[in-house]
């Protein structure tokens, strides 16, 4: 065997704390290694060129690169060795950057550890076997989960690109958070006016199949061939008959149903169409409030409906869709007021959240766009905005910035002045974060043109005093405590991951961070991909994002799907399980533990019973390999012998 080893300096990233020349010198002493060198940037083009030349010149048949994490560049180098004529699996990477040079302080120890890491990689590569992938057909349908602006953009772009799209939205209408906003910053244009046409496009696009009020039940399969079970939740209204006339809503006797769309600013009816521009514009019954369900009698809507669409017996329905790729655009959630007992947490009606205020400002909202405070429906003259209500607060488990609150507070303060010219707004802030195009000018305008008072400091307590709410905070620039007697307090509550985000991630087999936001493949270079091939991210499900960023990512995800589907066949990863039929005793324990049902029983001509791997279904986890008592089923590229070679390299030499 002729192994070549390439040790990367990564500029000073590795060479700064690892003696790379020594690593190369020690590597040369290893049996099997015929060539070892160190290089400034191995991943650069000249660096890769050097590998190719060495393969040819030194007649190398195995290559090890000691550099950064294989999660970063394994694929890069696999392609390099492949171009030089080697099988791409005759390549191993030793991670001497993330796992060594960046975390160890002692150069001697780091260098020694790097040498050992190379030794392990050499041991592994000498046990590597050539592997060859096979190809399979792709189902060129895409599913978009979430009908907010990001999901809609992705759906429209995919559909315009000629793909069949299945759009699944869990609430009764698409539109998401953007549909609830009044105006958008920094242009102050009407949110629904620009979103509405897009919603209509989605509804009318012949390539888009919309499942509203539906949730993902189960996802099986792999890139190119997913089977998704969708739960169509019971609306108790036959949507094929419902015309969206709204008669039922008008007549419904239950007037105290919780209005999810308006975040409970005002009550709604038990049967309702969430908002006038809803797509689909169909009614649905909320059985937790409907008298027919709670008391067993009423039937008013059934009587009044001109098309006879009401069906109290309706049940959830499960449908299955076969698709090839998934765009996840499940959006975000908002911190509960409950988290702020010192702010009066739901006890005081005039302490509301930013999104609730958005609905109050909105012309189609419960107050028809008149700013009226919830407690007594009077016009507030003093409005206090509290930014970072939960955000950047370790003690509440949200250490991150919610990204767009600074901007919408400025917008809301401006709108308040527009609506109530004799009002005065105050904004408590820690830092004004407005790095977008035209953003900082916007927050300046709020202060310069609209007289909004910005107070640098946090609010410690809000309590009622007569009809006013006393907001006590600090002005750290003045170095004092300050108090404002406000009529209305708006909290810019922290952006959190969507409810059920973790559960959805588990169904999708994608990872999520501590806060429930989905993790992209690479924070810079692969921002819309996930580690599960065929699953892409769009919008705030990946982290707090404003509208332009969400739309941008929606389009980006769509372009990823389109490029994935530009081929008719996909290549399978050959690093999957393989059965040695001579060793297999047919106990089929692997069948029991395979998470993907990728192993089945096969009877050989001799009558011998053995396990057989279904190549396209196997995902390469290796649970079978560690289940098999006789080592007959081996996960390729991570076989027992390959891992033992690494263990032995550490323990026995």
């Amino acid at each position: 065997m002729r192994v070549g080893v390439f040790i990367c300096h990564c500029g000073n990233n590795i060479a700064g704390t690892v003696d790379v020349a020594k690593v190369a010198a020690e590597t040369r002493k290893l049996p099997g290694v015929v060539y070892a060198t160190n290089y400034m940037y191995t991943c650069s083009e000249p660096g890769q060129e050097e590998i190719k030349q060495a393969i040819q010149k030194e007649n190398l048949d195995r290559v090890v690169v000691a550099a950064c994490s294989p999660r970063m560049h394994e694929n890069t180098f696999r392609k390099t060795v492949e171009k030089a004529g080697l099988n791409r699996y005759f390549f191993e990477m030793a991670n001497i950057r993330e796992h060594i040079s960046w975390i160890g302080e002692d150069k001697e120890l780091n260098t020694n550890k790097a040498i050992e890491a190379v030794k392990m990689a050499v041991a592994k590569v000498m046990n590597d076997k050539p592997l060859y992938s096979s190809s399979f057909k792709v189902n060129k349908r895409v599913m978009v989960i979430g009908g907010g602006v990001a999901g809609m953009q992705a759906a429209l772009d995919c559909a315009d690109g000629g793909l069949d799209v299945v759009l699944v939205e869990k609430s009764p209408s698409i539109g998401g958070m953007m549909a609830r906003l009044d105006k958008t910053f920094p242009t102050i244009d009407c949110s629904i006016c620009i979103l509405g046409p897009k919603m209509v496009d989605v509804a009318q696009h012949e390539k888009i199949k919309l499942y509203a009020y539906s949730e993902i039940e189960e996802i099986k399969g792999y890139v190119g061939n997913y089977q998704v079970k969708i739960r169509k939740k019971a609306t108790y209204v036959d949507w094929t008959k419902c015309t969206g006339c709204g008669a039922c809503m008008e007549k419904c006797p239950t007037r105290n149903a919780y209005d999810h769309f308006n975040f409970g600013v005002a009550p709604t009816r038990a049967i309702n169409i969430p908002f006038p521009q809803a797509i689909p514009k169909k009614a649905k019954i909320d059985p937790t409030f409907c008298r027919q369900f709670t008391k067993g009698k009423c039937g008013v809507c059934a009587k009044i409906c001109p098309t006879g669409a009401i069906n109290y017996e309706m049940e959830d329905e499960i449908v299955t869709e076969d698709i090839g790729a998934i765009v996840v655009a499940t959006g975000y959630g908002l911190f509960d007021l409950d988290k702020f007992p010192e702010y009066g947490a739901g006890r005081y009606p005039d302490v509301i959240t930013g999104i609730q205020y958005e609905r109050i400002l909105n012309a189609s909202g419960p107050t028809s766009g008149h700013i009226l405070r919830p407690s007594d429906q009077t016009e507030p003259k003093t409005v206090v905005f509290v930014s970072c209500a939960g955000s950047r607060d370790k003690s509440l488990g949200v250490p991150y910035c919610s990204n767009f609150c600074c901007m919408y507070i400025a917008k809301q303060a401006i709108l308040t002045k527009d609506h109530v010219p004799d009002s005065q707004s105050y904004v408590f802030y820690m830092d004004i974060r407005s790095p977008g195009k035209g953003y900082d000018e916007f927050t300046r305008r709020a202060q310069e043109d609209y007289g909004v008072k910005y107070i640098r400091g946090r609010v410690s307590r809000i309590y009622p005093k007569g009809k006013k709410m006393v907001v006590r905070g600090a002005d750290t620039l003045l170095g004092t405590q300050v108090e404002i007697e406000a009529d209305l307090v708006v909290l810019a509550t922290a952006v959190i991951s969507a409810p059920g985000a973790a559960n959805m991630a588990e169904k999708l087999h994608i990872s999520y961070d501590t806060f429930g936001f989905y993790v992209e493949s690479h924070p810079k270079l692969r921002p819309v991909e996930t580690n599960t091939s065929g699953v892409f991210l769009a919008g705030a499900c990946q982290g707090p994002k404003d509208i332009p960023a969400s739309v941008g990512q929606g389009s980006a995800a769509a372009s990823k799907v389109l490029s994935l589907f530009s081929k008719d066949m996909l290549e399978s990863d050959p690093a999957i399980a393989q059965v040695n039929i001579n060793a297999c005793v047919g106990c089929l324990k692997c069948v029991k533990t395979c998470p993907f049902q990728a192993i089945k029983e096969e009877v050989l001509r001799s009558g011998k019973k053995v396990a057989k791997v279904i190549e396209t279904v196997c995902a390469g986890c290796g649970v079978c390999t560690s289940t098999c008592p006789c080592g007959a089923i081996q996960l390729q590229h991570f076989t027992d012998n390959q891992l033992l070679a690494e263990v032995n390299a550490i323990c026995q030499s």
Binding site: R28, K29, P31, V33, V34, Q652, S653
Partner: protein, 359 residues
């Protein structure tokens, strides 16, 4: 110097101590309920009452031994050049096997023909054999499964022995067999035993008569037709579980395997016992195995001992009748019964176990 010695019972330990001065003395020791050969040391519990569970064969012919170690060395000047450095080290210190049974000693004679009396003697075995003194202890009575007389042995047979002890009242008569063995009469604990040699001979005779010969004709006689009849083997061995207890406990089995064990350019070539009862025995690299079933493998075991070996070595049977394979077989496969059945002669009489009156 007398030809016969006498070793009083109470001096046995002193005697071993004396021997241990210039050799490693392997003695049968009690460990729990098991008797095993262990290098003598003061804290060992000697057991001469019954044969050891394992024969002493591994002392001369270890279960696994390093034939040589090797290391890939790189030329410091030109790392593309590599050489392999070999190291051979035959570990053969002066050794005494004390308290082996005559059958155990006879096993070494069977090995000697293979490993020493040939054009290419095995240096490892030979060196150890030459450096070892075998002091046997004759058996006073048969033990479960014993049948040495059926294969030409005896509870007091002296083949392969350097000196033999025979228990009589108060101690042991010491009979040297070889020149090497004679030397032990010089040890201060050994008294003159000439006058009591008779007692020992009587005991030996008595023991010989007590051993049952399982073979109808006195000696095993195998019918070639039956030997090659698969159904016979299939029937006889259906209960065998294919473990290696019989061969690893056998003082005459010597099949071995050679493997290289290496980690990172350093390693050893190892010779280790093989057992024809295992599937991996004679398994070819192509995954073909000429003996794929357990009865074929067992046939090899019987064949080797009673047919092939005798054919090659002038009729010598490669079985010493120690009975361990019967005694320790998980399913009580009885080789003597099988050999007897192969003779085609009258069926061996049923042992009375079945008639145990339990109801």
């Amino acid at each position: 110097m007398p030809d016969t010695g006498y070793l009083p019972k109470e001096k046995v330990k002193d005697f071993i101590r004396e021997l241990a001065k210039d050799a490693i003395v392997h003695v049968p020791c009690l460990e729990g309920e098991t008797v095993v050969f262990r290098p003598f040391s003061e804290d060992r519990e000697l057991c001469l009452e019954r044969p050891a569970n394992t024969p002493p064969k591994s002392i001369i012919y270890p279960q696994s031994e390093t034939l040589f170690s090797f290391e890939h060395k790189k030329d410091p000047e030109d790392h593309q050049k590599m050489s392999v450095e070999l190291k051979v080290d035959i570990d053969a210190p002066g050794t005494v096997i004390f308290g082996a049974r005559p059958c155990d000693a006879r096993g070494f004679v069977i090995y000697d023909r293979v490993f020493i009396d040939t054009d290419t003697p095995d240096p490892y075995y030979k060196k150890r054999r030459e450096n070892t003194l075998v002091v046997t202890l004759s058996c006073a009575a048969p033990f479960p499964g014993c049948f040495c007389v059926g294969v030409g042995g005896s509870p007091a047979g002296k083949e392969g022995t350097d000196a033999m002890l025979t228990e009589i009242a108060g101690g042991y008569i010491v009979e040297p067999v070889t020149e090497k063995g004679k030397a032990i009469l010089n040890k201060p604990m050994v008294e003159d035993g000439s006058t009591r040699l008779k007692d020992a001979q009587q005991a030996q005779q008595k023991a010989h008569e007590a051993v049952k010969n399982p073979f109808a004709g006195g000696m095993p006689n195998i019918s070639p037709e039956l030997f090659d009849a698969d159904p016979f083997w299939e029937q006889a061995l259906s209960k065998c579980v294919s473990c290696g207890a019989c061969t690893y406990l056998c003082p005459t089995c010597y099949c071995f395997n050679i493997t290289d064990e290496q980690v990172y350019g350093k390693g050893e070539r190892i010779r280790s016992w093989d057992a024809c009862m295992f599937f991996h025995f004679t398994l070819e690299a192509s995954t073909h195995n000429p003996r794929p079933t357990k009865f074929q493998r067992f046939k090899n075991r019987v064949g080797h001992k009673f047919v092939y070996y005798p054919e090659k070595y002038e009729g010598a049977i490669a079985c010493c009748g120690c009975g361990r394979c019967i005694r320790y077989c998980p399913v009580s496969v009885d080789i003597s019964e099988i050999v007897n059945d192969l003779g085609g002669g009258g069926k061996k009489e049923q042992q009375p176990a079945g008639s145990a009156k339990n109801d």
